[in-house]
């Protein structure tokens, strides 16, 4: 899995950090989310999918290995 975060869309709701703290964090200075890891371990994939679903700004994109971001 490859994760992309579109920073310009982020509204700082923090849903991704609650869903998947291993993969997402928020910048202390501007509150915008960033990726701790672009290619999460298989054990974190479910939580990343939840983050994609819950992000109110559709700022997270994932692609299966070998595909373009969807």
């Amino acid at each position: 899995m490859k994760v992309t975060l579109v920073r310009d869309r982020c509204v700082g709701a923090g849903q991704c950090v609650l869903s998947s703290p291993e993969v997402f964090d928020q910048d202390e200075d501007d509150g915008v989310a960033y990726l701790l890891c672009e290619e999460p371990l298989p054990g974190n994939e479910d939580s990343v999918h939840e983050a994609v679903d819950l992000c109110p700004a559709q700022a997270i994109l994932v692609a299966a290995d070998g595909n373009g971001a969807s």
Binding site: A13, E28, D30, G31, V32, P56
Partner: protein, 407 residues
């Protein structure tokens, strides 16, 4: 605005309809979801917005930029006369569309991150403990709303913003007026103006003599640089003050009542010291209670198709988050309170760019309040018959006026 255009020659019930059960949305609105229809419903001022109730439709309405939150647009399905005042005194994030909305929201985001809110947990815990002490030291029965729920929510918002707790009566009474369903636009605007003037003056004071609080930090960082005017920061503080305390206080008291009605789930919370249990309880309460009971309103600025329904530019819509939060397609047995379910997809904080800015802090407050009350007052019980309780059926934010309890 006080003289609403009557909805003439119609026997259709006006939205929102009355609840039949204090813990469920009105049956008429639930049926709309079950029947998979999207009706137009008359509201108080004669406008007939579309009513969306399904989870997916509601998420689309709240996140699609073709819907505007600008309450000054003609035909906007305002929830009350008072709501019209929100568009003008002062315009806050709530009524801004992009790009303005995101630009201003971004300036304050760092104050509301998950970690930042977590770091306030010890403060919240201390405030919760102190409020419970006061309830237990006071007369029996006591009112959980006045003694615990409101002081917790009010203390936190004062702490966060750096406004004196001594001025809480001013905030409380003016917020009540601004959120009332019974006042005119002018009365609501006057209450908002008074709060705004107070907060802008506070911004000026903190700009000169900053402390360790939201208003001070934002004044130093953004007002001095010119990124925000005094008015805009005052408006931001007004939004946090009015949106931040009433909602949380109502969620605390109504949630405790829901737990008292489900003793097994109350016992599970009381007997566990796992923070994940308190977190589950808070999320499920947000889903199940969804106290923003009149739906979130928008107006289409272009033609847009939602769930097969074409909404024309200029038409209003209501996103009924309380019913969407029980959509069986998303939540299964949505009418049941089940604090073991994974409820975080709920829309109680809204969805889209306007999703609640203070949600991380609200979560900490609810978790600490529910867990603190359950554990510190194991013998907690209702001190009156349930049908004697007064529910806030006619207010923007649902809850109970008082919650008399004994222990």
């Amino acid at each position: 605005m006080s003289e609403a255009t009557p909805v003439s020659e119609s026997t259709e019930p006006m939205f929102p309809m009355a609840r039949q059960c204090p813990f469920a949305p009105p049956r008429e609105v639930t049926l709309v979801q079950a029947d998979r229809v999207v009706p137009r419903v008359p509201i108080w001022n004669g406008v007939r917005p579309w009513l969306f109730t399904r989870f997916d439709d509601v998420r689309m309405v709240l996140s699609d930029p073709r819907f505007s939150a600008d309450k000054s647009r003609p035909g906007y399905p305002l929830s009350s006369a008072a709501a019209a005042a929100e568009a003008v005194v002062p315009p806050t994030l709530l009524v801004m569309d992009n790009p303005d909305h995101d630009r201003y929201r971004r300036l304050v985001l760092s104050e509301f991150t998950v970690k930042r809110s977590e770091s306030l947990r010890p403060v919240v815990r201390e405030i919760v403990g102190r409020s419970i002490d006061e309830l237990l030291a006071g007369p029996r029965p006591g009112d959980l709303v006045a003694a615990v729920a409101l002081p917790i929510a009010m203390s936190m918002v004062c702490e966060l913003l750096g406004v004196p707790f001594a001025d809480r009566d001013l905030f409380r009474t003016r917020t009540n007026t601004a959120n009332s369903m019974r006042v005119t636009t002018e009365e609501a605007a006057a209450a908002r103006q008074e709060l705004h003037d107070y907060l802008v003056e506070l911004v000026r004071r903190r700009e000169r003599d900053p402390g360790d609080d939201f208003i001070s930090r934002m004044a130093v960082r953004h007002v001095r640089s010119g990124a925000m005017s005094h008015d805009v920061l005052g408006g931001m503080a007004l939004l946090l003050l009015t949106a931040g305390h009433d909602t949380t206080a109502n969620m605390i008291a109504l949630g405790v009542l829901a737990l008292l009605r489900h003793p097994g789930q109350l016992a599970r919370l009381r007997d566990s010291d796992d923070p994940r249990v308190a977190a589950q309880v808070a999320e499920e309460m947000l889903r199940y209670l969804t106290i923003v009971q009149r739906g979130i309103r928008r107006i289409a600025v272009e033609d847009v198709r939602v769930g097969g329904r074409l909404v024309r530019a200029g038409e209003g819509v209501i996103a009924a988050i309380n019913v969407a939060n029980r959509d069986p397609e998303r939540f299964g047995a949505g009418d049941e309170l089940d604090t073991t379910r994974h409820a975080r997809a709920h829309l109680a904080f809204g969805y889209g760019p306007h999703q609640c800015l203070g949600q991380a802090l609200a979560r900490v407050e609810l978790q600490e309040a529910y867990a603190g009350i359950a554990r510190r007052i194991p013998g907690l019980r209702l001190a009156v018959a349930e049908d004697e309780l007064r529910f806030k059926s006619d207010m923007a934010v649902y809850g109970v006026h008082e919650l008399p309890v004994d222990w």
